[in-house]
């Protein structure tokens, strides 16, 4: 075997032994993804169920009752109270009894019957903008359905028939879990890799290593390989749990996903190693790793906020975040069944970022004690 591979093998095997001997690493590597999947998968939900509402019906007509029934039929709303005056809605909302109010004006049915445009008022709790926006969406759908019933024989209304492809029920778990898997793995990879080099500096073994003829590429790759293996294991674990708990499908090819994951892991691990090499201190490295691992992965990856909607500087910055490409690959492969021809921009992005981080960390890795 050429000496380079002999050295690389020795370094990677040694790193693997460190990992296997350290139970904390095992818990962190395999327990954390599951905990985070459960937390995010169940807690971060963009679904709205049985939002309590109050109804103020000034009309008292069959059409008004049909509208309220239509709202309730979506399961998004449940009528908690019927009130006599508008002020009562605000009072109930402030007390937290209801999250939205519906005011149907007098003459609602008459206008509909005459084929005129009728309107009702939807009062939303703007203090919780996310819920309000989702409630608004449901209300539009329910109103359109009620309007088509009411408008029989009258002027046909322009009616959208919405069908969400790939996630017909618009379940947020389906949308969240694929992105979440990428984010979890990215965060853990940065956290685990930041301490490895710093630890060797602190314990003095780095000095011993430098006195041997190992070159820095072998050190960087030797650190990388075992963590890539752990990362792939985490990915499979999260995907299995996601399929089992949340019914997340795998519509594309697993091989494509794993290939992207290798590039992704190389990028995030390169980021962690760079931090570790520059700081040479476990404590500082851990803190920097936590910040630079969590924030970009969570905020700039498109996991929650689509990068296209970000302000320009952040959008530019997001191109250096490997998770941005991986989140897209995960959703594309799992939900849309995308294949390489559609995913090549993501693959290119992953490869470029990984190459950049690894090159910088290899160059930043000085094999001397200066």
């Amino acid at each position: 075997m050429p000496p380079f591979f002999q050295r690389l093998g020795a370094l990677a095997y040694k790193e693997l032994l460190h990992m296997l001997r350290d139970q904390q690493v095992i818990y962190l590597a395999l327990g954390m993804p599951l905990v985070m999947l459960l937390l995010f998968g169940y807690a971060v939900s963009f679904d709205v169920d049985e939002l309590p509402i109050a109804v103020l019906d000034h009309d008292g007509s069959a059409a008004a009752r049909r509208l309220v029934r239509g709202l309730e039929a979506s399961d998004a709303f449940v009528v908690r109270d019927r009130v006599r005056e508008a002020a009562a809605i605000e009072a109930l909302m402030r007390r937290g009894t209801i999250r939205a109010g519906v005011v149907i004006p007098a003459g609602f049915a008459r206008r509909l019957a005459r084929g005129e445009q009728a309107s009702y008022q939807l009062l939303l709790d703007g203090a919780d903008g996310t819920t309000a926006r989702i409630a608004l969406g449901y209300a539009f759908g329910a109103t359109a359905a009620a309007a088509s019933d009411a408008g029989r024989g009258a002027v046909p209304l322009l009616e959208p028939r919405v069908r969400a492809l790939f996630n017909p029920a618009l379940r947020s778990a389906l949308f969240i879990v694929p992105g979440l898997a990428a984010v979890i793995i990215g965060i853990l990879a940065v956290l685990m890799s930041t301490i490895t080099v710093a630890r060797e500096w602190e314990r003095g073994s780095m000095e011993q290593l430098f006195a041997t003829p190992v070159d820095r590429l072998a050190v960087v790759l030797g650190k990388l390989l075992p963590y890539v293996a752990i990362g792939l294991l985490q990915l499979l674990l999260v995907l299995t749990a996601g399929a089992w708990l949340f019914g997340v499908p795998l519509r594309g090819s697993l091989a494509t996903l794993l290939a992207a994951a290798v590039l992704f892991l190389a990028g995030v691990l390169g980021q962690g190693l760079l931090i570790s090499m520059v700081t040479r201190n476990q404590q500082v490295a851990t803190q920097l790793g936590a910040i630079s691992g969590v924030l970009p992965n969570l905020l700039l990856s498109g996991f929650i906020f689509p990068p296209d909607n970000m302000p320009l500087p952040l959008r530019v910055l997001s191109h250096a975040v490997p998770a941005r490409y991986m989140v897209a690959v995960m959703r594309g492969v799992l939900l849309q069944g995308q294949r390489l021809p559609q995913l090549w921009p993501q693959f290119l992005g992953l490869a470029l970022v990984a190459a950049a981080f690894l090159t910088i960390s290899t160059l930043a890795f000085r094999r001397s004690l200066d």
Binding site: M1, P3, Q6, R7, G9, A10, L11, Y13, K14, L17, H18, R21, D22, R203, G204, S205, E207, Q208, L209, F210, A211, T212, P213, V214, S368, L369, D370
Partner: protein
């Protein structure tokens, strides 16, 4: 500095005849900002020689060794190790040497054999040849039974032997040992030095730093460092001859430390240094003979002191050198 280890009675065998030197340092200098850690250090070490580098902590010993191992670039001056320039060709230096750093930095969570396999791999060794070499070395340092022990579970003295063979796996011509016996029990230190002498007898050049003066007696030649300078360089015997004129006495008594300033001022006293609980007193026999010395000690203001003639040690040399400066 002195401890329970008895000073070896016989000095090490004389240094082998120098052919092409294994290590050459010429005006080697290293600065860290304003601080000069090593200043204008020059010496040569012959093949098969045990070269001891002595000095207090912070005197520049580790900085010198790191420059010679190609780990730290010299600020000025030059050095060649095994014929390779340490600044221009550190990789060739690294292949030719074995280095045991101050903390004998093994991976404590790995087993002994795993550590050795790792460092063997780092030197590009592997397979059955490496396994045989590890077996032979473990056998040689009497650790054959400990191969599967977690390195962190070994006592310091045994761990130090593992670190030594980790540095010897690739059969280096030159071994650099930085404080190899720091924190190791006296008995283990003696065993370790027996190994070092065997290695040197087999042709390996050994460059070793220590702050245990008693260990320095095992070396063929000794360099003494204080504050970044190499202040003396010779065989142990020559160092004592040159720097310790007069006769040496061990002075004991309950208040010996308090008596030292007064003794130093007395005519004929060349030096007086605390030595453990006692003191070493160096006198010019022409001016202060045995009988007058005994009288001086008996009549002192600090109670009765007893003196007996002793062989000077390297610690006396070191203290005399520090005092001279």
């Amino acid at each position: 500095m002195p401890d329970a280890t008895p000073t070896p009675s016989a000095p090490a065998q004389s240094a082998p005849a120098a052919s092409a030197p294994a290590i050459v340092a010429e005006q080697l200098t290293r600065r860290f900002g304003e601080f000069v850690a090593v200043r204008d250090v020059s010496f040569k070490v012959a093949r098969g020689e045990i070269f001891g580098y002595l000095g207090a902590n912070g005197a520049g010993k580790s900085t010198t060794i790191r420059m010679l191992c190609g780990l730290l670039a010299p600020t000025a001056g030059r050095a060649t190790v095994a014929g390779a320039d340490v600044a221009r060709d550190p990789e060739r230096v690294k292949r030719a040497i074995g280095y045991m750093s101050q903390r004998f930095s093994l991976y404590l969570d790995l087993r002994v054999r795993e550590n050795l396999e790792f460092f063997g791999g780092a030197y590009g060794l592997g397979g059955a040849a490496l396994a045989r070499r590890i077996d032979a070395l473990l056998e040689r340092v009497e650790l054959a039974a400990q191969g599967d022990v977690r390195t962190g579970d070994l006592p310091g003295g045994l761990r130090q032997r593992v670190a030594l063979i980790a540095a010897m796996l690739h059969e280096p011509a030159i071994l650099f040992l930085d404080e190899p016996t720091a924190g190791v029990a006296p008995a283990a230190r003696r065993t370790f030095w027996r190994l070092i002498r065997e290695l040197a007898a087999g042709g390996t050049t050994v460059f070793v730093t220590t702050h245990y003066m008693d260990e320095a007696e095992y070396c063929h030649r000794i360099g003494m460092m204080t504050a970044g300078r190499l202040v003396a360089l010779d065989t142990p015997a020559a160092l004592k001859r040159e720097h310790l004129a007069g006769s040496m006495f061990l002075v004991e008594g309950p208040q010996v430390a308090a008596a030292l300033p007064e003794l130093r001022r007395h005519p004929g006293v060349l030096g007086a240094q605390p030595f453990g609980a006692a003191a070493h007193l160096r006198v010019d026999p022409a001016r202060l003979d045995g009988a007058r010395l005994q009288r001086l000690l008996a009549d002192g203001a600090h109670g009765a002191l007893r003196a007996r003639s002793v062989e000077p040690s390297l610690e006396d040399v070191f203290l005399a050198l520090v005092e001279e400066r």
